[in-house]
Every structure is written in structure tokens, then in C-alpha cells.
């Protein structure tokens, strides 16, 4: 018999925690599920409980902010069931979710489901990007600032992302040598952020601290440069960067090479709506953020009955907008469960409308300023790997399109997106390649997702089926 909850929240980042807080305050019976051992999501990730930091303030504004929200979550959320180290591997009929915790499988039922799955990074793709030692910016950030580890001596930090400058600064602060900060977006464009940053003082101060660290340590900044190559046998040893002209050719004399241990690169943040897709929620393409988001109306209700979405898997907006939207989604669910009157929800919505609008405009500017630009991938060498898992190249994908593949479903014939990660990494790249051929996004669509939405050992399913059969006998 499956445990039943009034609300199940998938994801314990700022959106999931905020929604849980609001729902618990209204006395709802809530379960929160997350893969990670502790609440916080990616943005408010804690360091391991077994570790002790001598000075937590050195971990930055984000860490302190996250700590506050997590404390509120533990205080108010005492009433809710926290299923950590647990992942949802599928949604099934009759409002059931299938969970896996270690080597156990369980089903739970919900009246209302909130999707707060979060975001991932858009990869930066260039010849050799699959070599060990090439990481995403967020991946290196987690290693340096939450796992207290520098995985090498010399680093190249590259891409077009709000994480670029913070990661470079954190590597420097930890004692790493930064051979170069390679920003695809010319530095001059960053100036467009300042009018909006005036209203985001803590972000502004943090940005100034980061810039100061970079200047103080004399780390070279390459404005308008792209990573064009990297080399090494078993791991990356060398990387080349250059300015590209409009045709993607290396501008004369701009090529520079570095001997490095680690190259961290990515091109921005994209939604990670997996369960939402599997459950059939309608999605729409965000042409600014270049990713698919769950369509919701009014407010946080998806096209599927009893399913809501908030946070970065709904709309890319960062920690503050995610928290605000999470609170509102929690209240909307409380209203739909009959736990609060409609006017209370409406009042809370209008009370915060101004702040939300400012945040939204800031995020929109950030996305525009830090956009890597369209069709970076189409300029690469045809032998560049697109799908890491199945080692499918750009040339393979292009020839698939020539043979008539126009949709994400059809392009799987090249085996792109068919590996262990189930297309999580390459989807945005493949979309960009097909878009570059002039095929409209509505036709291209996205990778369909079926259960299990994350790989699980088949033995666990066998054991669960046997146990289920015994119980029903």
C-alpha cells in the first residue's frame, strides 16, 4: 500500500523548500523528495556534515542565505516527511510516484504534485571536451567551494555564464592558478548589467568582491574568446582559445594556447524538467533562455491535473525568484487543497508583485547580456563529439538531418541521446544544431522521457515485483 500525501514536492532547492514551508504552515501533509543527502539543491548546497569549516562566512553570501532558508525549512518543515537520498524514477497512473532509496523501491501517492526539479548547465562544446579534466563551471564550483578540493594547479575558466566570474574568483581564493578567464561575451557587455544590479545589492557586492579577487591576483581575462581546441591523451593537458569571426574562423593572430590541468566551461543555465515531461505536462520553448519550460496557467498549475511547477525547472530565474515562486506555488496548492481562502492567496500574490517583477527583469537582462549567441556548435569541426555517452559526432548528427531527421525523436536514429544520461547533456546542443538548419522549434520538440527517468538496476525492480506479488497473494 502506497503512502499518501496531500502534496508531494520533487526537489529540495529554494523553490521546493519554500513551497514546503508554506504548505506545512497551513497544516498540509507533505512529503519532499530529493536525490541529495541534505536540502539546498545546487545553489544552496551544504558541505558534507562530516566536515567542519573554520570560517563559514568565507563561503559567501549564497551560503549564508541558503543556511537561513534551510533553517526555516527544518523548523517549519518538521511536520513534513523529508525523503532525502531518494530519487523519483517515474510517475504512474492514479497520482503515484515511484521512488528509489538505496536498494529499495517504493510508491507514494499525492493529491497535488509540485515539480521543482531545478536546472542544469548548457555544455560548452569544442573538440576534446570529453577529455577527463574538462568540467562544467558548476561542477568545478561544487568541488572547490563545497568539497574543498582543487583538482589541479592550473585552470582555464571559460564560457558564457553567470557562474564564470564567481568560479574564477573561487579558484583563485582557494589558491589555484588561473591561466585565463575566457569570456565569450565581450567584457563591455557586462556593463549593461549595472543598472539592474543597483537593485540587487548583495549580488552587486559579491560581484565586486569577485572582480577584486581577479584583479588582485592578476588573472588574465580574454574578452570575446572561445575555446577552440583541447588536447591530451588520458586527460586534458593543453587548450587553445581564439577570437572567432562571423564565419567561425579563427581571427588572425588571436590563437593562444595554455598548458593546464583543468578546463571548466559551460554556456549558461537551462531548465531540467524531466518528471514534468514524462507526466505529459505541456512545455513551451523559451527563446531567450534557449530551453523548454513547463507551461503553467493560472500561476503555477501545469496542463496536467494536480501537477504544478515552480523554480528553475519551470522558468530560469535563479535562487531568489525560485524561492518567491516556490512560496507562491505552495500557497496556490494550499488554496486548491482548501487549506486557505482564495483571497489570502491573491493578497500574498499582489503583496510581492513589485519585487517579483524587478527580479524577473534582472534575470531577463542577465540572460540577454550573458547569452552565448546562437549556433556556436555549428561552427565546430565535424569530428567534435556531441553525445558523450554514445560518442556521436557533429558530423553524424548533420548527416542524420540530411537523411531526413527533423525532430528530436527522429535524430535518435544516430544514437544521439540514447546513452546513460538519457540526453540530459546533449539535448540543448542537438536542438541548436537542428535549429541551425532552419527547422522550427515547434517541429523539433524535445527528447521524450519515459520511466525510468533515471537509470536503476533491473534487479531492484525484480525484487520489488516479487515482494508485491507476495503481499497481494
Amino acid at each position: 500500500m502506497a503512502d499518501a500525501f496531500e502534496a508531494v514536492i520533487v526537489g529540495m532547492g529554494p523553490a521546493g523548500m519554500a513551497a514546503a514551508i508554506e504548505l506545512c504552515r497551513r497544516g498540509a501533509h507533505v512529503a519532499v523528495v530529493d536525490e541529495n543527502p541534505q536540502p539546498g539543491g545546487q545553489v544552496y548546497r551544504r558541505f558534507a556534515q562530516e566536515f567542519t569549516a573554520e570560517d563559514e562566512t568565507s563561503l559567501g553570501v549564497n551560503y549564508a542565505k541558503g543556511k537561513k532558508l534551510i533553517e526555516e525549512f527544518w523548523k517549519v518543515g518538521k511536520q513534513c516527511v523529508v525523503l532525502n537520498d531518494t530519487h523519483v524514477w517515474g510517475g504512474f497512473a492514479d497520482n503515484q510516484l515511484a521512488l528509489r532509496h538505496a536498494d529499495k523501491i517504493a510508491l507514494i501517492k499525492y493529491k497535488k504534485l509540485l515539480l521543482a526539479e531545478g536546472a542544469s548547465e548548457r555544455p560548452s562544446v569544442f573538440p576534446g571536451w570529453t577529455l577527463p579534466g574538462v568540467m562544467t563551471l558548476g561542477g568545478l564550483q561544487k568541488l572547490v567551494s563545497r568539497e574543498f578540493l582543487l583538482p589541479g594547479k592550473r585552470f582555464l575558466i571559460a564560457g558564457a555564464s553567470p557562474l564564470l566570474i564567481p568560479v574564477a574568483a573561487e579558484v583563485l581564493k582557494a589558491g589555484g592558478e588561473v591561466a585565463g578567464i575566457c569570456t565569450v561575451v565581450p567584457l563591455g557587455r557586462y556593463l549593461n548589467l549595472f543598472p539592474k544590479l543597483v537593485f540587487q545589492r548583495e549580488i552587486l557586492f559579491e560581484a565586486i568582491r569577485h572582480a577584486f579577487e581577479i584583479v588582485r591576483r592578476n588573472a588574465p581575462v580574454f574578452s570575446g574568446y572561445t575555446v577552440v581546441s583541447c588536447a591530451g591523451e588520458k586527460r586534458i593537458r593543453k587548450a587553445g582559445i581564439a577570437k572567432l569571426d562571423a564565419n567561425g574562423r579563427i581571427a588572425g593572430g588571436s590563437m593562444r594556447t595554455f598548458e593546464i590541468d583543468i578546463l571548466a566551461a559551460s554556456n549558461g543555465i537551462i531548465t531540467m524538467s524531466r518528471l514534468g515531461r514524462q507526466l505529459g505536462c505541456r512545455h513551451e520553448y523559451d527563446s531567450e533562455g534557449l530551453c523548454w519550460q513547463v507551461k503553467t496557467a493560472p500561476f503555477f498549475r501545469s496542463s496536467q491535473a494536480d501537477i504544478y511547477a515552480a523554480g528553475d525547472s519551470h522558468v530560469i530565474g535563479g535562487r531568489d525568484l525560485a524561492e518567491w515562486n516556490g512560496r507562491m506555488a505552495g500557497l496556490e496548492i494550499a488554496k486548491d487543497l482548501g487549506r486557505i481562502p482564495a483571497d489570502e492567496f491573491n493578497r500574498r500574490l499582489s503583496d510581492n508583485a513589485g519585487r517579483r517583477e524587478r527580479l524577473r527583469r534582472y534575470v531577463s537582462t542577465l540572460q540577454r547580456v550573458l547569452s552565448p549567441g546562437a549556433n556556436q556548435i555549428g561552427r565546430q569541426d565535424l569530428n567534435t563529439i556531441v553525445c558523450r555517452c554514445e560518442q556521436v559526432t557533429l558530423g553524424d548528427v548533420l548527416s542524420g538531418i540530411e537523411k531526413g531527421c527533423r525532430t528530436m525523436h527522429e535524430i535518435k536514429r544516430t544514437r544521439v541521446g540514447m546513452g546513460l544520461c538519457q540526453g540530459r547533456v546533449c539535448e540543448s546542443i542537438v536542438t541548436e544544431i537542428i535549429l541551425g538548419k532552419g527547422i522550427p522549434i515547434e517541429e523539433i520538440g524535445y527528447f521524450g522521457i519515459r520511466q525510468p527517468i533515471a537509470p536503476i538496476p533491473i534487479a531492484l525492480l525484480e525484487r520489488y515485483a516479487a515482494q508485491d506479488a507476495r503481499e497481494s497473494a
Binding site: 536525490e35 541529495n36 543527502p37 545546487q42 558541505f47 558534507a48 556534515q49 562530516e50 566536515f51 567542519t52 569549516a53 573554520e54 570560517d55 568565507s58 542544469s120 548547465e121 570529453t130 577529455l131 577527463p132 579534466g133 574538462v134 568540467m135 562544467t136 558548476g138 561542477g139 568545478l140 561544487k142 568541488l143 572547490v144 568539497e147 574543498f148 578540493l149 582543487l150 583538482p151 582557494a174 589558491g175 591523451e233 588520458k234 586527460r235 531540467m272 558523450r388 555517452c389 554514445e390 560518442q391 556521436v392 553524424d396 542524420g400 537523411k403 536514429r413 544516430t414 544514437r415 546513452g419 546513460l420 544520461c421 540530459r424 547533456v425 537509470p455 538496476p457
Partner: protein, 95 residues
């Protein structure tokens, strides 16, 4: 980097049979990277390692205590755990 943090209790894990020092609370990925072990698996002799470090890319998947395809960036070390490199060959697509 040892400044600023007191790590968990020291323990030993085994990577392809070779003992590697690790600390309680650490992921297997962090333990391997701190020892300079970068390869998690190979596909047609191409090496893959920790890429996203947050459970998305499955690039770091290794065999842990006999279970294949375990993401080492999401799996914490435990005393005596056996970690093995995975080696695959690609099956050619028919398309």
C-alpha cells in the same frame, strides 16, 4: 587544499584494487580527483571522467561494490569500498 576545513575521518577505498585514501563525507569523485585519478570509464579507448559533478551527465559512472554505472559524484565513500573503471566498446548505429 587543507586550509579552512577539517575533513571527516580518514578511511581507505580501493580503485581497481589499489588503496586510495579518502575522508568520510567525501564523494568517491572527490577522493579520486584529489589523488589525480581522472578516468572513470572508457568508450572505445576514449577516456571519460567527472564532468558535471552533480549527477546529470553520468560521465563519471563506475562499478562500485559490484554494481555497474554508479555515479561517483553522487556516491559517498565508505571504508573498504571497491571501485572499478568501466570499459565499453560502442555498438555501431544502423541509421
Amino acid at each position: 587544499m587543507d586550509q579552512g576545513v577539517i575533513r571527516g575521518r580518514a578511511l581507505t577505498i580501493h580503485v581497481d584494487g589499489i588503496p586510495v585514501r579518502a575522508y568520510q563525507g567525501q564523494t568517491i569523485a572527490a577522493a579520486l580527483l584529489s589523488e589525480g585519478i581522472f578516468t572513470s570509464r572508457t568508450i572505445n579507448q576514449q577516456h571519460l571522467g567527472v564532468y558535471c559533478n552533480m549527477g546529470i551527465c553520468h560521465s563519471c559512472a563506475m562499478t562500485v561494490d559490484g554494481i555497474a554505472n554508479v555515479r561517483i559524484c553522487k556516491t559517498l565513500v565508505s571504508d573498504g569500498c571497491q571501485v572499478e573503471t568501466q570499459r565499453f566498446s560502442k555498438v555501431e548505429a544502423n541509421g
